[in-house]
C-alpha cells in the first residue's frame, strides 16, 4: 500500500477544475485528471470518475462549456473550456477559499500554541 492520501474535499474539486481550465485553456477530462494529479503530487486521492460529475455540474451552471474535438493521439474527445461567467465564479470562489483557509489556518495555529 502507498502512503495515505487525503480524500478530495467535497466542492473543492469544482474549484480545482475551474482553476485548471482557467490556467491551461481547453482540456478533456483525462487531461484535467492528469493535471490535478500532477499538481497534487500524489497527496490527493482522486476517483477520476468524479471529475465527470463535477464537469457536468459546472456545465449545468454555465461556468464551463464543452466541445467535441480531437485529442493529441487523434482520437475524438470532449474538450472543456471556462466561460466568462465561469471566470467570475472562479474569482469569487477563489477569494472565498482563501478567506476560509486563512481563518482555518489561524484557528489551527491557535490550537497548537496552547
Amino acid at each position: 500500500m502507498k502512503s495515505k492520501k487525503s480524500e478530495v474535499l467535497q466542492g473543492t474539486l469544482d474549484l480545482m477544475i475551474l482553476k485548471t481550465l482557467h490556467a491551461l485553456g481547453p482540456l478533456h477530462g483525462f487531461g484535467i485528471a492528469r493535471r490535478i494529479e500532477q499538481v497534487s503530487r500524489d497527496v490527493l486521492q482522486l476517483n477520476e470518475g468524479t471529475v465527470y460529475t463535477s464537469l457536468l455540474r459546472l456545465q449545468q451552471q454555465g461556468w464551463i462549456a464543452a466541445e467535441w474535438g480531437t485529442s493529441e493521439n487523434n482520437r475524438k474527445a470532449k474538450f472543456y473550456s471556462i466561460t466568462k461567467r465561469g471566470e467570475k465564479q472562479l474569482q469569487v470562489e477563489a477569494e472565498n477559499w482563501e478567506r476560509i483557509s486563512d481563518v482555518i489556518g489561524r484557528v489551527l495555529k491557535l490550537e497548537a500554541e496552547r
Partner: protein
C-alpha cells in the same frame, strides 16, 4: 455573484432539460468514459504494466462507473418521479401477472367502494348539500313552529309576517309550501310540482335567474291574489319551451288561471327541499286563488301551513337568532293568546328540518352509513390478507431487492403503489356500480307521489369522497404487509433457498387476527340485519284495527281543479256512484285522510261537555273526515250508535263518531250518545262509538280519535282519498279509479293510486329500508368474510403440504388431517362470532331505539347467526381440507 437560489434554479432547469431530453446523452458519456479508461490504461502500460494489469488499474483509479452514472442521473433527472414511474410500471406488471389475485381484489374493492359511494351520495344530496344552486347555503335555516304538545307544526302566514317584520338577527325570510299544480288547459293538463313562496324567496337563497327576472316590486307585497306571475325551472324551460327566450312573457294556465312566466331558475337550482325538485314558483299571496279558498287562509293565525326559510344576518350565530325568535314567539303567544297560546318557534339547520325527506331519512342513512363502513373494514382486512399471502410468496423477491440495495422505504413504496393501483381500479369499478345505482335514492322513499327526486349523482363532492376512500383503503390495507416486508431478515430468507417452507409465525398471527376480525365484523352486521328484519316483521304483524286487504285507495288534489265546496261535493258523489257500478266492487267511500300515512294527520282543539281537562292537558285531538260507509268498508266495528248518513250534510246539525279510547278518557261514566263536543266553532253531537284503530303508525299507543262527516266540514284545501273494496282484483279496482275519475273531471287526476296494503307498507318504509338494505350489506359482508376465511385456510393448506405429507406417511389418517384444518377454520369462526356478538351487545343500546317490541339481545337471532356462521366456516374450511386429505405423501415430500 451566484446566489444560492440562482444555483438551485440552474440545477433545476438542468433537470427539466434532462427530463425533456430523455435518455439520449448517455451514449456520448459512455464514449467519454471509455476514452478516459483507455488513455489511463495506455499510461500504465507505458509505465511497464501488462495489458490486463493496466486495464484493471485504470478501472480502479477511475472508480465505480455505475455509481458515477447514478450521480449523473441524479443531476439530470427527477429521481423521485422516475422511481414512481418505475413503481407504477412494475405494479402494473405484477397486477397483470396474477389476474386471479387482481380480479378478487378489485371485485372486493368495487363492492366495498360501490356500497359506500352510493350511500354517501344519498347522504350528500339529502343532508350535506340540501340546497344545491343556492349561494351561502349554510346560512339558510328553517323556522319551525312548536305546538304546546311539543309537536313541530308549519307556520301560519300571519305569524310569518310578524316574524319577518320584527326579527333583527335574520337578514331575510320567505315562506315555501310545496303544491301539486295542474298546468294546462282542459284538453291537456299535467301535474307539476311547485312551491308557493314569498317574493324574496330567491333573495333568501341567493339565486340569480338564468334568464328573465324573479319576483320584484309590487309582486313582493302582501296583497292577495293580485300577482299571477310564475318562475319556471330550467328543466321545465327545457321540456316546454325548448330553452327559448320567448318563454319570458308566455302565458301558463295554472289551476285554471293564466299566469305569466317572468323568469327561469338556474339549472342547478331545484327548489328549497332537499333531494326533491320543483318546476314552478308562484307568489304565496296567490294561495287563495290557487286553492279557490278566497283570502281567509292567509288571514287566519290558525291556518298553519307554510314552511319558513330564513337567512341569518351576517355574523349572527344560530343560537343568537334562535333566542331572539323564542322571545318574539313568546310575546306573540301572549298577544295572540286566542290562537297562539303555548306556541313557540325555533330555527333548525336545513338538514334537521322536519318538513322534507331528511327527517325520515336521517336515522336510516346513519345506520346504513355505519353498516357500509363495516363492509369497508372487511374489505380492507380482506385486501390486507390477500397481500399478506402474496407477500409470503414474494419474500424472495423482496429479499433480493433489499440485498441489491433497495431501502425498506422503497419496498413499502412499491407495495403501497400496488395497493393504490388496485384501489384505483376498485374505485373505478365501484363508481360504475354507484353510477348504475344513481337514481336509487327513490328506493328509500315510500311509493307516495312526491316531487321528482333529485339525486345528486356523482358530483365533485362524491368523487372526492371516493378518492379519499381509495387512499384510506390503500393505507389501511398495506400497513400490515409493508411492516412485514421490511422486517424480514434478508439472510434468513435467502438461506432458505428453494424451499417455500413455512412462513413466519408473525405473519400467521397477523393473518389470523385479520380473518378473525373479518368474521367478527361480518357477524356484527349479520346480527344487526337480523335484528332489524325481525323487528320489521314484528311491526308488520301488528293488526291495524281495520282490514286493508282487497282495498284500493287513491288521492285527489281538488284544489288543483279550483273547485268550491259544492263542486267538490258533486265530484265526490259522482265518482262514488260510478265506482259503485264497477264489476266486483263491493263498497266505495271517501275520506280526508288515509290511516298510516307518512305525514301526520290533522287535529282539532276539542272541548267535551262535562269533561274538565287538567291544567296542561292536550285537548288537540286527531281526527278524520269521512263519508258514510267508511267504517263498514274498513271493517272497523261500530260498538254503539249509528254510522253517518248522506243526510249528515251542511244544512243538518253537526254530528261526530268517537273511538273507544276517546270514550275511556273523556266520557268514562257512560252516556256517550248525544253528548256534545265543541270544535271548529260549533257543537257536535256524538252519534256513535267505533273500535280503536292505528292512525299514524303501527307502533303507536292507542290515542283518542274522532270522526266527523266530510260533507259537514269539508274544505277543498283538505285532502281527499277514495277507498274501493273489491271482491275481484285490487289492481283492476285501481284502474277503474283512474279511468272513472278522468271521466268525471279531467282536471282532477288521481294520484298515489295503490292498494291499502301498499299504503301501510309505505308507513313502514323506515324499518323496511333498514331491514332490507342492512340485509344486503350483511350479505356482502358475509361473502367477503367467507372469501377471507377460505383464503386463509387454503393458504395454510398449501403451505403445510409437506408437513401433511410427513404426517400421512408416518401413519396419520386422512381424517386426522381433515380435523386439523377444519379445527383451524372453526377456531376463527368461533372467536369471530364471540367478538362480533359482544360488539353487537355493546351497540345494542343504540340499536334499541330502532327496534320494536324486542331487545337487541334477541336469543333467537344470536343463536341463528352463530349456527349460520359456524356452518359457513365449516364449508369454507372443508374445501381446502378435502384437498389436504387427498395429499399423496410421496408427491408431497418431493414437492419443490
Amino acid at each position: 455573484m451566484s446566489t444560492r437560489r440562482e444555483f438551485r434554479l440552474r440545477a433545476f432547469a438542468a433537470k427539466v432539460r434532462g427530463f425533456l431530453r430523455g435518455h439520449k446523452r448517455d451514449g456520448e458519456f459512455d464514449d467519454e468514459i471509455q476514452e478516459h479508461l483507455q488513455l489511463l490504461a495506455e499510461k500504465f502500460i507505458a509505465q511497464g504494466m501488462s495489458r490486463e494489469e493496466a486495464a484493471a488499474a485504470a478501472r480502479r483509479q477511475f472508480g465505480n462507473v455505475t455509481l458515477l452514472q447514478e450521480d449523473r442521473r441524479a443531476l439530470q433527472r427527477f429521481l423521485f418521479f422516475e422511481a414512481l414511474w418505475q413503481d407504477l410500471r412494475f405494479s402494473l406488471r405484477i397486477i397483470l401477472k396474477s389476474p386471479g389475485f387482481t380480479a378478487t381484489a378489485v371485485l372486493t374493492l368495487a363492492l366495498g367502494i360501490g356500497a359506500n359511494t352510493t350511500i354517501f351520495s344519498w347522504i350528500h344530496s339529502v343532508l350535506l348539500n340540501p340546497l344545491p344552486g343556492a349561494g351561502d347555503a349554510h346560512r339558510v335555516v328553517e323556522l319551525e313552529s312548536l305546538a304546546p304538545s311539543g309537536e313541530w307544526v308549519p307556520t301560519s302566514y300571519l305569524d310569518f309576517r310578524d316574524f319577518r317584520d320584527h326579527l333583527k338577527l335574520v337578514e331575510s325570510m320567505s315562506v315555501a309550501k310545496p303544491m301539486a299544480l295542474a298546468v294546462g288547459n282542459d284538453v291537456h293538463v299535467e301535474r307539476v310540482w311547485g312551491e308557493t313562496v314569498s317574493g324574496n324567496f330567491f333573495d333568501v337563497l341567493h339565486v340569480q335567474p338564468e334568464i328573465g327576472r324573479f319576483f320584484s316590486g309590487v309582486e313582493r307585497d302582501d296583497a292577495q291574489n293580485a300577482h299571477p306571475v310564475a318562475v319556471i325551472s330550467h328543466s321545465f324551460w327545457h321540456s316546454h319551451y325548448n330553452e327559448s327566450a320567448s318563454a319570458i312573457g308566455a302565458i301558463l294556465r295554472v289551476n285554471r288561471t293564466p299566469y305569466s312566466v317572468i323568469g327561469v331558475a338556474p339549472k342547478q337550482f331545484h327548489g328549497s327541499m332537499a333531494g326533491l325538485s320543483f318546476d314552478l314558483w308562484v307568489p304565496a299571496t296567490m294561495y287563495g286563488q290557487l286553492t279557490a279558498t278566497g283570502t281567509w287562509m292567509l288571514e287566519d293565525r290558525k291556518a298553519r301551513m307554510f314552511r319558513v326559510l330564513a337567512r341569518l344576518a351576517p355574523g349572527v350565530t344560530l343560537e343568537q337568532a334562535r333566542s331572539e325568535l323564542a322571545s318574539l314567539a313568546g310575546f306573540m303567544a301572549k298577544a295572540d293568546a286566542d290562537t297562539n297560546e303555548g306556541m313557540s318557534a325555533t330555527l333548525l339547520p336545513v338538514w334537521k328540518s322536519h318538513n322534507g325527506i331528511q327527517g325520515s331519512l336521517l336515522a336510516p342513512l346513519t345506520i346504513l352509513f355505519g353498516a357500509s363502513g363495516v363492509v369497508l373494514l372487511i374489505v380492507c382486512a380482506n385486501i390486507a390478507n390477500l397481500l399478506l399471502v402474496r407477500a409470503a410468496d414474494r419474500r424472495k423477491e423482496f429479499s433480493i431487492r433489499v440485498a441489491l440495495g433497495a431501502s425498506p422505504m422503497r419496498l413499502v413504496r412499491q407495495l403501497s403503489t400496488e395497493v393504490l393501483m388496485l384501489a384505483v381500479l376498485g374505485s373505478v369499478a365501484g363508481l360504475l356500480i354507484a353510477d348504475w345505482l344513481g337514481g336509487s335514492l327513490r328506493w328509500l322513499l315510500p311509493l307516495t307521489e312526491a316531487p321528482r327526486l333529485q339525486s345528486g349523482g356523482l358530483d365533485s363532492g362524491v368523487l372526492l369522497f371516493t378518492a379519499a376512500l381509495a387512499v384510506a383503503i390503500a393505507a389501511l390495507a398495506s400497513i400490515g404487509p409493508a411492516l412485514h416486508a421490511t422486517r424480514d431478515n434478508v439472510n434468513e430468507t435467502l438461506k432458505e433457498g428453494g424451499r417455500s417452507g413455512t412462513s413466519s409465525t408473525q405473519s400467521n398471527r397477523l393473518r389470523s387476527l385479520l380473518v378473525t376480525s373479518e368474521v367478527a365484523l361480518a357477524v356484527t352486521s349479520l346480527l344487526g340485519a337480523g335484528l332489524f328484519v325481525k323487528s320489521f316483521y314484528r311491526v308488520k304483524s301488528i293488526h291495524p284495527g281495520f282490514d286493508p286487504n282487497q282495498v284500493a285507495v287513491a288521492k285527489f288534489n281538488l284544489s288543483a281543479a279550483n273547485f268550491d265546496a259544492q263542486q267538490a261535493d258533486a265530484f265526490c258523489r259522482h265518482l262514488r256512484e260510478r265506482l259503485e257500478r264497477q264489476p266486483g266492487v263491493t263498497a266505495v267511500t271517501y275520506a280526508d285522510y288515509v290511516p298510516l300515512s307518512l305525514g301526520e294527520g290533522s287535529w282539532e282543539d276539542l272541548q267535551v261537555e262535562r269533561y274538565v281537562p287538567g291544567p296542561s292537558e292536550n285537548m288537540k285531538i286527531y281526527r278524520n273526515l269521512v263519508a258514510p260507509g267508511y267504517f263498514t268498508l274498513m271493517k272497523i266495528p261500530l260498538i254503539e250508535g249509528r254510522d253517518f248518513t248522506m243526510q249528515d250534510d251542511d244544512p243538518h246539525p253537526p254530528v261526530m263518531i268517537v273511538t273507544r279510547e276517546f270514550v275511556r278518557r273523556f266520557i268514562p261514566r257512560g252516556g256517550v250518545l248525544n253528548r256534545k263536543v265543541h270544535g271548529w266553532g260549533q257543537w257536535f253531537t256524538i252519534v256513535g262509538v267505533v273500535e280503536d284503530s292505528k292512525i299514524h303508525r303501527l307502533t303507536e299507543n292507542t290515542r283518542p280519535y274522532f270522526y266527523v262527516p266530510i260533507r259537514q266540514i269539508y274544505r277543498p284545501e283538505m285532502g281527499l282519498a277514495f277507498y274501493v273494496r273489491t271482491a275481484g282484483s285490487v289492481s283492476e279496482a285501481m284502474q277503474s279509479i283512474r279511468r272513472e275519475s278522468q271521466a268525471v273531471d279531467a282536471m282532477v287526476p288521481a294520484s298515489e293510486v295503490m292498494s291499502l296494503n301498499e299504503w301501510i307498507a309505505g308507513s313502514l318504509f323506515g324499518q323496511r329500508i333498514a331491514a332490507s338494505l342492512l340485509s344486503v350489506l350483511a350479505a356482502i359482508a358475509f361473502v367477503l368474510a367467507s372469501i377471507g376465511l377460505y383464503g386463509v385456510v387454503a393458504y395454510t393448506v398449501a403451505q403445510r403440504t409437506q408437513e401433511f405429507g410427513i404426517r400421512l406417511s408416518l401413519g396419520a389418517q386422512p381424517r386426522d388431517v381433515l380435523g386439523l384444518i377444519v379445527r383451524q377454520g372453526l377456531a376463527f369462526a368461533l372467536a369471530g362470532t364471540a367478538v362480533g356478538a359482544g360488539l353487537t351487545l355493546l351497540l345494542g343500546r343504540a340499536l334499541g331505539n330502532f327496534l320494536v317490541n324486542m331487545s337487541a339481545a334477541d336469543p333467537l337471532i344470536f343463536t341463528a347467526t352463530a349456527v349460520f356462521v359456524i356452518v359457513l366456516a365449516l364449508a369454507a374450511a372443508s374445501i381446502p381440507a378435502r384437498r389436504a386429505m387427498r395429499i399423496d405423501p410421496i408427491v408431497a415430500l418431493r414437492y419443490e
